[in-house]
Every structure is written in structure tokens, then in C-alpha cells.
Amino acid sequence: MAQATHVQPDAAATAAPWQPRIVAFLCYWCSYTGADNAGTARLKYPPNVDIVRVMCSGRIDPALVTEAFARGADGVMVCGCHIGDCHYISGNHKTMARMPLLRRTLAGLGLEDGRFVHEWVSAAEGEKFAKLVRQVVEQVRALGPLDWPGRLRERGVGHGMDLERWREHA
């Protein structure tokens, strides 16, 4: 029967040492401003965390998190306003319930503790954000690459008609 074939990642990608790739979903009003404050204070953290902004942490669908891991993120962060401080009153209350439930589900799917991080960061907490990023990058680095797409390829998933989901996009 047809064996799954795959092209080796190009030499440049394999030659460079692995760096944790982390996606962080931040709410615009608190945590994004908190991240900005880390910048205005010139605090330093490693460039492994890419920030995706949404207006409220309530917008963060658990499917965005599973999508990120499925696409190859080694870690995912979700940050929002502290309870009681949400710009939209109670958007973060939903986050508060969804994320722990998602965490338990991800643990059931074998995701190690420390890859999925959910924290509240206020607009004034630039230091907290910088410290959090440094901590998460190091803990993900210690856990090693997750490479979910690679894992599924090894299991023979995606050699059928669903393979368009795993193609590279620009």
C-alpha cells in the first residue's frame, strides 16, 4: 500500500537550533497594554513569543488554542484582565471557566504541564508580563519541541485527502 512520503525540511530549517515557538493571545485593554508597558520600561524577554491581539480575552475560543498547537506551536499563552477589571465587564469570566476546562482536556491529550499558560495581566503589570514570558519560554524550552504536525505525520495522518490542512502557507 502507498506509504506516506514527505519531503525533508530544508537544510536551513534543520541546521538552526530549535527555538520554542509560542503564540500568546492578549486582550487589547489590559494584557496588551501591560506588554506595551514592559516595552516602555525597556524590560527584556526572549523573542520567542508572538502576540496575537483580540479586543477581549472572552474572544479566545478554545479552538484557537487547539489550532495553534495543531499548527506547530510549542506553547500557547492566554492573557486577559484580572477578574473584575474586564473592559467589557465580564468577558474574562468566560475565559476564567473555559481555560481550566481546556487545560484539563489538553492534559488528557498528553500535552505536558507548562505548555499552555493562562494568566491575568493588568495594564500596569509590565514587569509581570516580562517575567511571565521569560518563565514560559524557559519552561517550554526545557520540555522540548512539541511539533504536533510532525507527530501526526509519523502516525500516518494526513496522507489522505485532508492533507491541504497541513500544507505550508505564506
Binding site: M1, A63, M96, R98, L101, L102, L109, R155, V157, G160
Partner: protein, 322 residues
């Protein structure tokens, strides 16, 4: 085979429990109408057919072939490809073929763990030699081969192009008969593997006769430990009912007999990850003002993976355990 103007239909069972084949029989007296309009040219569950017979058919010979069950081994993939070539229309029938179904829960285990449980370490196994199946074995009469066991349960759409999906575990007979009538009349909707037939475009909540009071969930309950109040939404009462994230067409039969929906018709709309969709919804419905309270409630949900992905793990974003 003679050509007599009748439709040629087929049904194959892969990694399956047999329930889908039985569900086809459940159309009951309509079976007579069916066989008046169509010849069954391949249905291993019901009668004796050989693969070589199917291989001998011209391509596109089968007008409509229903494939139920997931793809767990090389034989099932081979037959899927064979049937794709020999069928004008190939439909994924039932939750396993559409989304992986119950067999896809095996994706939470490795092949080694599955073999150990099936052949080595079960209390009812007597295998002192710790013998495991081999895929080839040489004999004097030649090599014996058995299908290779895949490391992952796949959906039909993962291996071949699929024209239609009939969701459900199993698809309900009255809807199946509607779909078959459309087949006979040549009136199926335009081909597209995302098109689901023998179902509706709504959620189970829409068909369910229980009433929503728009209250938040104050505590979770298990259906074997508490009796639901009649007439009131099961989820609001605290029974984990996946209905809001599940496609309807089943008539909401389970909630009508006090059983919370288990999600067997798969995701609504064209949502890929049913579990994540439901987590987003469920997290929004808890009565919790503080993090401690939210965690307290969430800890009452038993086995989130099994509850939210019971039938659709192979369709989800992560598809299985690491």
C-alpha cells in the same frame, strides 16, 4: 453482472461495530421498496461477496456505495480505495467513517499499549509466550499476510475523496430512508465532502423538546446518580449534554429519555473540532464569579476528552494523544 436499469448500491464495514449495517436494515418495510429500485452489489455484512468480485467491476460501476467504520488497518484503506474507484458516489456512513467514532478513541493510546492490552496483559488472556501478531508468516504453502495495524484511526475522508457524509451513531432510520429516496430519485444535493445528508442544519437543542430557562449551571450531575427534572434543559440542570455542539437529525431521542446527548452526530455547521467548540460554550454557562468557584465546578466534569470528543476525535485539531 447484468444491467437491468436498477441502481447499484453497496455497503462496506471497516473498523465498525455493525450498528450502521443494522441501521440500514432498520428502514424496515422500506427495504422492499429499496430492493425494488436498487441491486445490492456489495455488502459483506449481509451476504457473501469477495473482494475479487468488486475488483472485477468496471470503474464507477457502483452508483452509490456507503462506507461505515473507521480506517484502522491496511485492508480497510485498500478497500476504501477500491470502492472509491468502483463507485460513482461514495458516502461516509455513520460517525466512525465521518469523524472516527468510538474506534478513534483508540488514538489516545499507542499501538504498543493497545497490543499489550489485547494480547498480553489482560486478565482474560492466556498467552504465556507473549506472542504478538505478525503481519507476514511463511508457510510451506506460501506467505500468509494479515492487514497491517495502523498507528492511528483515520476517517474515510483521510484516505479517499468522499462525496457525502451521513452522520450519527448510527444514522437514524427515518433520515436514512429520506436520503435513500433522494438517491433513488437522483436528487441528492450537489457533491461536496462537507455536505452532510440524512440530518438537519441545526443543533440537537433545536429538535429537543426540553425548555431552556437561560439559567447558568450551578453544579454538575451524573445521569446515573440523579434524576433529571422533566421538561427542562439537561445542560442547565448540570448534566453534561453535548446537544448545543451536536448536529441534529436524530430527533433528540436521547434527551427525551433523560439521557444527555453524547454528541454522536458530530459537530454543527462545518466546525472541525467539536470538543473545542463545546468547551467554549460550556465555559460560558457556568455560574461562577471567582476563579476558585469556576475550578470547583470544572473539577466536577469527569473525563473531558471522552465526554467532548467521544465520537469526533479523528476530526478534531489534535486528533489523538501525544
Amino acid at each position: 453482472m447484468t444491467t437491468n436499469g436498477k441502481l447499484k448500491i453497496g455497503m462496506y464495514w471497516a473498523a465498525s461495530c455493525g450498528g450502521c449495517d443494522i441501521s440500514l436494515l432498520e428502514i424496515g418495510p422500506h427495504l422492499l421498496e429499496l430492493i425494488a429500485a436498487a441491486d445490492v452489489v456489495f455488502w459483506p455484512c449481509a451476504a457473501d461477496f469477495k473482494y475479487k468480485d468488486v475488483a472485477a467491476y468496471p470503474d464507477g460501476f457502483i452508483d452509490v456505495c456507503f462506507f461505515n467504520g473507521g480506517v484502522r488497518n491496511s485492508e480497510q484503506e485498500q478497500v476504501a480505495r477500491l470502492l472509491r474507484a468502483k463507485s460513482k458516489t461514495l458516502a461516509a456512513y455513520g460517525a466512525c467513517a465521518c469523524d472516527g467514532g468510538i474506534p478513534a478513541l483508540a488514538n489516545l493510546r499507542t499501538v504498543d499499549e493497545i497490543f499489550a492490552s489485547s494480547y498480553l496483559d489482560n486478565p482474560s488472556i492466556d498467552n504465556p509466550g507473549r506472542v504478538l501478531p505478525q503481519t507476514t508468516f511463511a508457510t510451506e504453502l506460501g506467505d500468509l499476510e494479515i492487514p497491517r495495524f495502523y498507528p492511528h484511526v483515520l476517517r474515510l475522508a483521510d484516505v479517499v475523496e468522499v462525496d457525502y457524509q451521513l452522520p450519527g451513531c448510527p444514522p437514524q432510520a427515518d433520515r436514512v430512508w429520506e436520503a435513500l429516496q433522494a438517491v433513488v430519485a437522483g436528487a441528492l444535493p450537489a457533491r461536496n465532502s462537507a455536505v452532510k445528508v440524512a440530518c438537519t442544519d441545526k443543533s440537537v437543542c433545536d429538535e429537543c423538546l426540553r425548555e431552556k430557562r437561560l439559567e447558568k449551571i450551578a453544579a454538575f450531575k451524573r445521569p446515573h446518580l440523579a434524576i433529571p427534572e422533566a421538561g427542562w434543559c439537561l445542560l442547565e440542570q448540570g448534566f453534561v449534554c453535548n446537544g448545543a455542539a451536536t448536529r441534529s437529525g436524530c430527533g433528540a431521542k436521547c434527551p427525551s429519555v433523560n439521557l444527555p446527548c453524547r454528541g454522536c452526530y458530530g459537530a454543527t455547521g462545518d466546525v472541525a473540532d467539536q470538543g473545542a467548540a463545546f468547551i467554549g460554550a460550556l465555559g460560558s454557562l457556568l455560574e461562577a464569579e471567582t476563579e476558585d468557584r469556576a475550578r470547583e465546578l470544572i473539577d466536577q466534569v469527569v473525563d473531558p476528552v471522552g465526554t467532548f470528543y467521544r465520537f469526533t476525535l479523528a476530526s478534531s485539531d489534535l486528533k489523538g494523544r501525544r
